[in-house]
Amino acid sequence: MSATMDATVAKTERPPLISSQRWRLVALVMVGVAVMSTARIISDNSDLTSSGTFGVALRTAVPIGLAGLSGLIAERSGTINIGLDGMMVMGTIFAGWWGWEYGPWMALLGGIIGGMMGGLVMSVATTTFGVNHIVAGVAINLIAPGIARFMASELFVGVQGGSVTSSPGNSGSMGSFTMPFLSGGELFGWQTPDIFGWFEDTGWFMIADAAGFMKGMTTDITWDVMLAVGLFFGMAYFLWHTPLGLRLRFSGERPSAADSLGVSVHKMRYLGMAISGGLAGMGGAVLVLFANRYQENQVAGRGFLGLATMIFGNWMPAGTAAGAGLFGYASGITLRTNPEDLVNALFLAAAIGLAVTAMYMAYRRSASGAGTVLVFSLLAFWAYFAVKEPNNQLVFVTPYVVTLIAVTVGAQRLRPPAEEGIPWFKGMQ
């Protein structure tokens, strides 16, 4: 069945325009920049690709990305971690507590520890006792807010500035870093030139936008954000370039085969859940550091959004990061001044981007795909012209709709770890 389908696909579809995968990626980025730049010039809204916007986008993307990475490592080791939203909640309460008592760095550590405890508790249920992973995750998600509320009522009530829904605030804030010479960071008290900033101000087609992106990525980056970005590279290296990482992935793909080669599947799954919980908790801590305090419901479903980015990114770190960036940008622009204009300009960018995609699909003779994408493109054009003041609630919904569309269109191409979610015990086939 699938073989014949592949054959027909091969007959009618043209090969990709660029055969090298690396150059295809470069071309994709170039087209992306061109689309954003065109949208910026037509809508006359330079904030669409300004360094400030990208800076906020990075800041909002990091917790989502950490949640995605958390889900990724859990599922690679064989555990479906629906409970990571709860682990993020655990991260926020511990980060709020330690941040208030000991300062921002301890907030980060506290968040990691809090999340890790959640991950280990869940692993006891799923790995040792073989409880269904969805069931255990749901249980964790129900418990965590309760624990957070109990701890908050014990710790923060009666303290100046604190309440059951909010911590008194972090003592001190984490430093930040601006790249010298490129983005005008200071070097030993000397104000270096701001090259990206200069290019950004020129407004040149594509160059100003790329410079805005680069400046946004290198200006006023707090250390927790930088650490999180570094963790993406670290985790990718760990999972694909170290023996331990191989064993961990092995436990998610073929636990019985891993066991027969002497890998302790249970140990790997515990390790996966400990790291997963730690990353989720760190995501919570980043939220606390951004708001400078713990607040109830601070997580607001970002754990689930992280799971969405992981699926969107096909269980790969780069894809997860791209998904988190996209969602971070979409929700980050709502924090800028005049978010309505920005969302409006983003509709235009989406419309142009989808139109280009439709043209490419038509070139590859995928008629149904091109038609579907064209419909979405026209919808986005309509939204650009008709919706002058986009509703906040509908903007909030965007990432979830995008994910739903992505899994609907790409469900056949997605490949989760083969035996994730199946409890495994020694002696199983």
């Binding site: 069931v135 418990i143 309760g146 109990f150 059951v164 979830y400 709709v401 609907t408």
Partner: protein, 382 residues
């Protein structure tokens, strides 16, 4: 008989003991006396008013538990019941206040709207699953947040009650004809008086009817048989002629339709509400997931779970007067749930192993020569 009851009760009892232990530790760490706390909790629920309060609290929880239990029975995880009921309650609240109908018909109309909206929203996930192979858990989670955003949008833009100055985001109050009266008069007729402070809300019979319907569906209908069969062994069900796509579509629609009713006790029977608005409870769907897990998806078990959950909720309300945070109730509920799912799994594996051992012993007796001793455990675990 006694052994059966004991078998069913052992896991929840162990879980309850674990939950009490964990909460006591939490109380001790935070410098409170656990004994004082549990004594106060007992005192709080030791009155007729409190019992009525518990029943009223348990009713929406029960509906919420049954909604997801239907799907759980065939390993179909409808995580999106929360979105389904919020959207359903909003649309039903708006539609119910817009139309004017005779009393009973009006209530039925609101039910029809709520169940259609909830079912249809769940059906989106089902259609994506059967046509595009999208994971049901992922689809329902996404639809949850889309429903929350969409209902906030609909409420603020279209369904808001504009006559109140439009300042508060809420739908119009339900007219008299759409309300279900409290049950107090019936009980007063038989000589029970609950007092002025509390009303036994009129939604209780609906919840009981739902439980009976669920029981009949599961145990006395072909569909229920197919549902359980699909849950136990999807491959066996398919080779026995059960169409898995049809099962997903119907089951998720039913699950969503029941989820659509979660908000109705507030809309139709609770004089504090009669409308969808700011104070409307918005996390009952998630709680229902826990209730269904606790009650092991059985009609009676889910009822017991809903009552336990509601009891903890009511019992902890007045702990604040002792300086003990009432939030200990959340710890109690949560640790009970987690301990229970673990205990159920352990007991299930024990029973499975015992059954497999018995079967293996029976085969050994029939056969000569006896098989190798190791053969039985491997067959038992696979």
């Amino acid at each position: 008989m006694f052994e059966r009851i004991w078998r069913a009760a052992i896991a929840p009892l162990v879980a309850a003991a674990a939950a009490i232990l964990i909460s006591s530790i939490a109380l001790l760490i935070s410098g409170n006396n656990p004994v004082d706390a549990f004594v106060e909790m007992w005192k709080t629920i030791d009155s007729t008013a409190a019992v009525i309060d518990i029943i009223n609290t348990a009713v929406p929880l029960y509906i919420s538990g049954i909604a997801v239990a239907i799907g759980f029975k065939m390993n179909l995880f409808n995580i999106g019941s929360n979105g389904q009921y919020i959207l359903a309650a909003l649309v039903a609240g708006w539609a119910g206040a817009e139309v004017s109908l005779p009393p009973v018909l009006h209530v039925l109309f609101v039910f029809a709207v709520a169940m259609t909206v909830g079912g249809s929203w769940a059906l989106i996930a089902a259609v994506l699953n059967v046509t595009r192979n999208v994971n049901v858990v992922v689809a329902t989670i996404m639809l949850n947040y889309i429903a929350v955003g969409l209902s906030a949008f609909l409420l603020s833009e279209y369904f808001r009650d504009s006559e109140n100055g439009g300042l508060v985001a809420q739908t119009k109050v339900m007219p008299e004809s759409a309300r279900i009266p409290p049950l107090d008069p019936i009980f007063e007729f038989f000589g029970f008086d609950f007092g002025e402070r509390v009303d036994l809300l009129g939604f209780l019979p609906v919840a009981i009817a739902l439980g009976v319907a669920y029981y009949v569906l599961l145990n006395r209908s072909l569909f229920g048989y197919e549902l359980k069969l699909s849950g136990m062994n999807a491959d066996a069900a398919q080779s026995a002629g059960v169409n898995p796509k049809r099962m997903v579509l119907i089951t998720l629609f039913m699950s969503g339709a029941v989820a659509g009713m979660i908000g109705l006790p507030f809309l139709l029977a609770d004089s504090d509400f009669y409308k969808y608005g700011d104070a409307f409870p918005v996390t009952l769907g998630f709680t229902g997931l826990g209730i269904a897990l606790l009650g092991r998806n059985s009609p009676v078990g889910v009822a017991a779970a809903a009552i336990v959950w509601a009891t903890i909720e009511v019992a902890t309300r007045r702990l604040g007067s002792l300086g003990i945070p009432p939030e200990i109730g959340k710890i109690l509920q949560g640790s009970f749930l987690l301990a229970a799912v673990i205990a159920y799994e352990v007991v299930r594996r024990r029973n499975d192993a015992a059954a497999a051992e018995a079967a293996a012993a029976a085969t050994r007796e029939e056969r000569t020569p006896p098989p190798t001793p190791e053969a039985a455990p491997i067959g038992a675990t696979s």
